[in-house]
Symmetry: C2
Subunit: 157 residues, 2 copies
DNA sequence: GCATAACTGAAAACGGTTGTCAACAAGGGG
DNA sequence: CCCCTTGTTGACAACCGTTTTCAGTTATGC
């Protein structure tokens, strides 16, 4: 199979870090998937690429990638953090059905931020915007298009 | 001292739950503070009001209040969850200096959401927006205006 | 006051994340 | 090509926040 050597891998090297098999495995999984992945999931899938991969290394790799801005942390509601490749925008749209994750440009947000800034006197430096909904595919199937959700815990009256 | 019996306390009763001393303590701390508090902090401060309060009860109370919509979960960046009293709006503006938390109306957000909806085909059901910056007071002092970001108050105060 | 069921607190269980440390391997130099 | 240096790794355990368990307690209705 071909290893296209992800752009992130080159960025890693450029930043003076070694390009190890473990890191490459994590990067490949991350690039292949278009959804937020938990460290655990990353670990499991990564081992399919590089068997001796350890969970601890996944955590460290994720921390490194996050530091370099190559990956982004996503808050999946109450769930644990998930990570996804970082694109131009930092805003995520999460499908509650299939957990697919897309990024979108925040066109109107700047104005909103400016407005809040003017009204409150705060000097705003960061913003986190995450939208949740159903993607077209999941709407079509009348619910989760993916029959394998990670948390079917209807713990509520 | 006077116990104004927070509105949330009445809501609790109205929902058919008992108004216990432990819950009252948590509510009082929550109402007194205008910042997001972690369960641990809530526990420490709550014990100043009601000594036998247990951490477990804080968690349970928080879960109950969240379920009733009386409290809201805040993601403090990489930190653990924090909780704050829920107001009309679900959007928070967090000061990185003093950790003060204010809510603000999301006037322009609906349009932004509608725009994203139209562009992506997703049916958006939820949104999370958190802004971070420096409040006027912290800007004035050139940094954190409060030298004690969030330290536990074992006694007094 | 009494009964009852909701509620509580202590401790333990649990699961995710981080620290430790000897072994390993990526990358540069000889 | 091999060696060396040192960043990196992986197994294990420590750590910490959260949840479960369970017997004792307390709020509320009678």
């Amino acid at each position: 199979m071909d290893n296209p050597l992800p752009a992130a891998a080159r960025a890693l090297r450029a930043a003076g870090h070694r390009l190890t098999r473990a890191r490459l495995a994590v990067l490949q999984v991350l690039e292949a998937e278009h959804a937020g992945l938990s460290p655990q999931e990353l670990y499991e899938r990564g081992r399919a690429i590089y068997a001796p991969l350890g969970l601890v290394t996944v955590y460290r790799t994720l921390a490194l990638l996050d530091e370099l801005g190559l990956v982004r942390r996503v808050h999946s509601d109450q769930e644990r953090h998930a990570y996804a490749c970082a694109g131009a925008d930092r805003h995520h749209l999460l499908c509650s059905g299939c957990h697919r994750l897309v990024e979108f440009p925040c066109q109107g947000l700047d104005e909103l931020v400016a407005s809040v800034q003017a009204r409150t006197g705060y000097r705003i430096t960061e913003h986190l915007l995450e939208l949740t909904g159903l993607c077209p595919a999941c709407q079509a199937t009348g619910g989760p298009a993916d029959p394998t959700p990670h948390h079917p815990a209807p713990r509520g009256a």
